[in-house]
């Protein structure tokens, strides 16, 4: 076991774990102060429940197997690992991916979902949606991977998957009271920017860590992650400047995240200049895409669809154009711009299409089932009063100097 590689994987794992709180702050800053703790809790919940599930059965079902559709129980309950090998490190590194994926969905359901329903939704969704899709896309014998689609760090399996699932859930959940006429600006933009900083920082582990070794591919993935984030942040900012006349912080933050999403699938398959191009395209496309929700009338509170679904699709399909095995010096299918044919693009489209169809249908069914049994939406009164107090009996900010009675 190479100590440099182990270090790289472990550090990357820590970085990706840190992304979930980062996402919590990114989302939490955007909601009203009466709902911020609910948002944080939905995210933290994912890093409590999913990693346990992952070690117990998730990893085994997602990666351990020889079939084309699902793994087996060979690594269940933490058994079967070679203690001196790299696999345990890889397993725990991937736990952080499993955890953050449902967390992405939380941005769409903000301000109105019953926490108890979310608490149950997360592990069910992980098992029924995340696990099989991951097997198809990432496992050595997964059928989408075997056909030739490329997904370096989780564009299809994570962002497209979570993005389309977000759509399915909010179709069941319904719009927030007053939406789209009423709304509220982000309650704390510094919290949003803190989240953005943490996400970017952590995403180096997400993408470059996915090389699973500290090698040339990891370096290139790191470079691409960096450049795509910069390019997309810039592009989104410029779109806003041209369209509305100002550079906004939320625009920059959104662009950075969109760029990170878009480069995720291709970060190990493209060169630096292509990464810049992908970032620029993603920044422009996503900044326009987030307007869709008003057009089509679905209330995607914090633009999970506009950023993760669209950004993931853009990035995944662009592999079909920009994949450049010669430029990077190792072996995979080339994209259209670098000597390839339409085959790769077709496989990318297929992989994303299949993922979207499967994820949408199963997620919709889960949401419907939960709604029919326990209900997934808070009452209108609770929605008005705020979810922090009603769902969690807590208040985010108590800036007063006052003292109050307490009992216990």
């Amino acid at each position: 076991m190479d100590s440099g590689n182990v270090t790289w994987i472990l550090v990357s794992g820590a970085l990706v774990l840190f992304m979930t709180p980062g996402l919590a702050f990114f989302y939490g800053g955007m909601v009203r102060s009466k709902n911020v703790l609910n948002m944080l809790m939905m995210n933290f919940w994912c890093i409590l429940v999913v990693p346990l599930l992952w070690v117990v059965v998730g990893y085994s079902l997602s990666f351990n197997g020889s079939g084309s559709v699902l793994g087996n129980f060979g690594r269940a309950f933490g058994r079967g690992f070679d203690f001196g090998g790299i696999e345990p490190a890889v397993m725990i590194f991937l736990a952080t991916f499993a955890a953050i994926t449902p967390a992405l969905i939380s941005g769409a359901v903000a301000d109105r979902m019953k926490f108890a329903a979310w608490a149950i939704f997360v592990p069910i969704w992980s098992l029924l949606v995340y696990v099989p899709v991951t097997y198809w896309v990432f496992a050595p014998n997964g059928w989408l991977k075997a056909r030739g689609s490329l997904d370096f760090a989780g564009g299809t399996a994570i962002h497209v998957n979570a993005g389309i699932a977000a759509l399915a859930v909010i179709l069941v959940l319904g719009k927030r009271k007053g939406w789209p006429r009423d709304g509220a600006p982000p309650h704390s933009m510094p919290l949003v920017m803190l989240g953005t900083g943490i996400l970017w920082f952590g995403w180096f582990g997400f993408n470059a860590g996915s090389a699973l070794a500290a090698n040339g591919v990891a370096v290139q993935a790191f470079i691409n992650t960096f450049l795509a984030a910069s390019a997309a942040g810039l592009a989104w900012a410029l779109v806003e400047r041209i369209r509305n006349g100002h550079f906004t912080n939320l625009g920059v933050a959104s662009g950075i995240v969109a760029g990170l999403v878009a480069i995720t699938p291709g970060c190990g398959y493209v060169t630096s200049m292509s990464a810049i191009a992908i970032g620029l395209i993603a920044g422009v496309v996503c900044s326009v895409a987030i307007g869709m929700k008003f057009k089509f009338g679905f209330d995607d509170s914090l633009d999970v669809i506009g950023v993760h679904l669209v950004g993931g699709l853009v990035g995944s399909l662009l592999i079909g154009f920009f994949a450049d095995p010669k430029g990077l010096g190792f072996d995979f299918a080339p994209g259209l711009f670098f000597g390839g044919n339409l085959h790769l693009l077709g496989e990318q489209a297929l992989a994303n299409g299949v993922t979207m169809a499967y994820s949408f249908v199963v997620t919709f069914a889960i949401a419907k089932a939960l709604n029919a049994t326990m209900g997934i939406r808070v009452t209108a009164d609770r929605e008005s009063e705020g979810l922090d107090v009603t769902e969690h009996v807590e208040t985010a900010y108590n800036n007063s100097e006052r003292t109050m009675g307490r009992s216990h």
Binding site: D182, S384, V389, V393, E394, T395, M404, G405, R406, S407, H408
Partner: protein, 112 residues
């Protein structure tokens, strides 16, 4: 002139403002306050210790209006702020003996 003070639910501010604007009340001053009343409060819990929070976020609106506008304005506020649920708030009227617009030095009805 009178000072009309209204305590309302926070999410009703937009409606009340619109109602006042519609009847050409051109100025008002708004404060974030906390109310104690029949509505009661709620309990919060931190590490198992319970805190009884008796105070609920409310918005206070103050507007100085000319005498002949008082009734209309009060009615408009009551109308716009009502949800028929407990905690909708109060509107009260106090006498004002004079008002000055700082910018121009205009006084009384001209200054409103």
């Amino acid at each position: 002139m009178k000072l009309i003070t209204a305590i309302i639910k926070p999410f009703k501010l937009d409606d009340v403002k619109a109602a006042l604007k519609a009847m050409t009340v051109e100025g008002m001053t708004v404060t974030s306050v906390e109310g104690f009343g029949r509505q009661g409060g709620h309990t919060e819990m931190y590490r198992g210790a319970e805190y009884q929070i008796d105070f609920i976020p409310k918005i206070k609106i103050e507007a100085v209006v000319a005498d002949h506008d008082v009734t209309r304005v009060v009615e408009a506020i009551v109308e716009a702020a009502r949800t028929d649920k407990i905690g909708d708030g109060k509107v009260w009227i106090t006498p004002v003996e004079g008002i000055v617009r700082i910018r121009t030095g205009e006084r009384d009805d001209d200054a409103i």
